[in-house]
């Protein structure tokens, strides 16, 4: 084994640091999935009949569907009857201040370095903390309320703003879109709802932290963001999960709707438990994220930093329906040990003069497999559509794999589509150059990787970018300074 490989082996085989578990007396559904469970979930959440019906119809649709197998990932068949579909902390009363939050929960946030106290002091970040499917704390609500912005848990939105939920739920990701989206539609537990009224520019970054907490609880988050005409919002989502022996399924759905001249920036840092270094345990993350640029000149931008999960299946996409609308996708996906990621985006150009930009940076280490899968589809009436795609892969060591599956479908001759791709290996030369200057190998790898991912990290809001850099270092090296 060359010295280069030894270095990489050494620094890519460290244990996950955020491994702990918090005992929040869970109020759980029994194992398994059937119509009864769906009724249980719906009644637990005091949902209106229309929503129960929506769930049931999704469930029936899902029963007719088969699990997709086209992704470049391998995992044992998930026993969906061995999963609990609902789990909530017992405390369900509304909270006015942090004092009312379970101290154990606050402790958990502290370990994550994202304590609410800190978050509150941080200007401009409102936090809707989701622990095990139910939101327990929401801040900055009043300030947002003055502007007519709605930012709350999904369940709350169902109660408080049923007309909006009924109007928009499933409008971007239809129930029958795919197997996991249908499953989510049937059993989704909670999530976030965000509504920005016409002409309002949301003055703060909206942020939510998701966290899986009870064993064997599938997480089925549902996020819906609606940006009315001329509005703007930047939405952040990040997560880290405790260590688990058994695989956990996470099948979220995120829907974004942007009306004319609206802009939505959605950023996420994903750090679900990836399994141990032998590939045991870890989260299965099968997520459907889609944005609809419904109005002219609207813009949706996805930025993701994917470091966790045993298996990732995720394609944040944009449907560019409005004329002159724009879609962006910036992604860093890191896989290590036995992690598998099949991620990318779809840009569907429907309107005239639509533009899309894709920047994907894959980093594979250990024995992991990292795939970029992207589709650029220019439809017939999309005159003068433009796309630029850049797909880079960085390999660490020689036991991992990087794959690129770009699909391009052009139905209009005026389209201009560019695709660039590179594959490189972290060089021994680069590492030696750093160590010769006194930088230890661990920091050298972090420096090089962060440099490589910079174009994407730059898209993140400042405080998130710092967290993301740390996560990259953590994923690849184990320790954060």
């Amino acid at each position: 084994m060359s010295s280069d490989d030894q270095i990489l082996e050494e620094f890519t085989s460290k244990e996950y640091e955020h491994g702990w578990s918090v005992d929040l007396e869970a109020d759980e559904a029994p194992l398994g999935l059937n119509e009864g469970i769906i009724r249980f979930i719906s009644s637990k959440k005091n949902e209106p009949d229309w929503l129960l019906e929506w769930r049931l119809s999704a469930f029936r649709t899902w029963q007719q569907m088969a699990e997709p197998d086209w992704a470049n990932v391998n995992y044992p068949k998930i026993d969906l009857q061995a999963i609990k579909y609902y789990s909530a902390p017992k405390k369900t009363k509304k909270l006015d201040s942090l004092d009312e939050v379970d101290p154990e929960l606050l402790e958990t946030f502290k370990k994550l370095g994202i304590s609410l106290e800190e978050q509150k002091r941080l200007t401009g970040v409102a936090v809707d903390a989701v622990i095990d499917s139910v939101s327990v704390a929401t801040t900055f609500k009043d300030k947002l309320g003055e502007l007519g912005i709605i930012f709350c848990s999904f369940s709350e939105a169902v109660t408080e703003h049923p007309e909006l939920i009924q109007k928009y739920l499933g409008s971007v990701v239809p129930v029958k879109d795919n197997y996991f989206a249908a499953l989510n539609s049937a059993v989704f537990s909670d999530g976030s709802f965000c509504y920005i009224p016409k002409g309002v520019r949301c003055p703060m970054e909206l942020s939510t932290y998701f966290r899986i907490n009870a064993a064997n609880t599938g997480q089925f988050e549902r996020t819906l963001i609606v940006a009315e005409e001329g509005s703007y919002v930047s939405y952040l989502e990040g997560c880290t999960a405790p260590m688990r022996d058994e695989n956990q399924l996470h099948a979220a759905v995120v829907e974004i709707l942007a009306e004319a001249d609206a802009e939505v920036k959605y950023s996420t840092v994903q750090n679900w438990y990836p399994g141990d270094k032998n590939g045991v345990g870890g989260i299965y993350n099968f997520v459907t994220k889609r944005g609809l640029c419904n109005g002219d000149r609207s813009k949706i931008s996805w930025t993701q930093v994917e470091t966790g999960s045993a298996v990732t299946w995720k394609y944040p996409s944009c449907i560019l329906k409005g004329n002159d609308s724009q879609g962006e996708f910036y992604s860093v996906a890191v896989t290590n040990n036995y992690q598998q990621a099949d991620t990318g985006t779809k840009m569907i150009h429907i309107g005239k003069n639509t533009k899309s930009r894709i920047v994907s940076k894959g980093i594979s280490a250990g024995k992991s497999q990292n795939s970029y899968r992207g589709q650029v589809h220019v439809m017939k009436r999309a005159e003068n559509a433009r796309n630029f795609s850049q797909c880079d892969s960085l390999l660490m060591g020689n036991l991992c794999g990087a794959h690129t599956f770009p699909y391009i479908d052009i139905e209009n001759k005026s389209a201009q589509v560019e695709h660039e791709a590179t594959t490189s290996k972290i060089g021994e030369d680069q590492i030696f150059y750093c160590t010769q200057r006194g930088i230890d190998e661990e920091s050298a790898v972090a420096l090089i990787v962060n440099g490589y991912a910079k174009e994407v990290l730059n898209q993140l809001p400042m405080e998130f970018a710092v967290e993301a850099q740390k996560l990259l270092a953590l994923t690849l090296e184990g320790s954060v300074g």
Binding site: Q436, G438, D440, L447, G451
Partner: protein, 254 residues
């Protein structure tokens, strides 16, 4: 400061250094000259700890420490600096950020505290003048898209920031025009003190007009075959390397 004793090294199956003996004291400047392929750059790399090379014999003592036992970053922190013949590009990492990481890790090792942003910048501004390097260059990705001259100046700038005890300049003159050469040499000369030493590895005498060595050694086929004062460099310039090659090869056949 540095004592190299019968150093032998190879890369894969090829023996390159076949018994080097060299002593460098604080305050001295040594030039290592020799024809292409004589092992000059290998010697520089082995001193810095590049792991492509396998040391098969001999020892290196650096201020009482067994240099060969130290990892490259430990050597650097102890004060060994290599100005690369081909500085490496690191996309997305600015020289400033790179150096901040390096300087602070070196300082930590030396028992000095980390420099805060303000002190670091102040330090940088001072050192920038030494090699007439522009701040905008330091905000760009390390060595990416730099001209040959910019890369070499950047090396000396890093040297100024890291304040090594032993600086090894590996073909620092290659690819430099005369103006850039003067700037680089001027920087090196200003960094010289009675407490540090410099090893200049070069093929041509030209650089030695500006960085005047106390000793000149000629390396050929992995051995130092001739040592002398600075006048040896001039002699080599005049006569080329052939006369040395001939005398060494003749001896070998006897």
């Amino acid at each position: 400061m540095l004592k190299i004793n019968n150093l032998q090294a190879r890369i894969e199956d090829k023996e390159i250094l076949r018994g080097i003996d060299l002593e460098v004291k604080a305050g001295e400047v040594h030039a290592i000259m020799g024809p292409n392929g004589s092992g000059k750059s290998t010697l520089a790399s082995v001193l810095a700890g590049r792991e492509d090379y396998e040391v098969t014999g001999g020892s290196i003592d650096f201020n009482g420490e067994d240099l060969l036992e130290l990892a490259p970053e430990e050597r650097a922190r102890e004060g060994v600096f290599l100005a690369f013949q081909y500085p490496v590009e690191i996309p997305g990492v600015t020289t400033t950020n790179f150096l901040k990481t390096a300087v602070n890790q070196v300082r930590e090792h030396r028992g000095l505290g980390k420099l805060d942003a303000v002190s670091f910048l102040k330090e940088m501004k001072q050192k920038m003048q030494l090699v007439e390097i522009d701040q905008s260059l330091l905000s760009r990705s390390l060595n990416e898209g730099f001209s040959g001259g910019e890369k070499k100046r950047n090396e000396i700038f890093q040297m100024a920031m890291l304040e090594p005890k032993l600086a090894i300049l590996d073909e620092t003159d290659s690819g430099l025009d005369i103006d850039a050469l003067k700037i680089v040499a001027n920087g090196v000369n200003q960094l010289k003190s009675k407490d540090n030493a410099t090893i200049v590895v070069t093929h041509y005498q030209r650089l030695l007009d500006y960085i005047v060595p106390d000793y000149v050694h000629v390396l050929y086929k992995g051995r130092i075959v001739k040592s002398g004062g600075k006048e040896l460099a001039l002699e080599l310039e005049e006569k080329g390397y052939d006369w040395i090659k001939e005398s060494v090869d003749a001896e070998a056949t006897v």
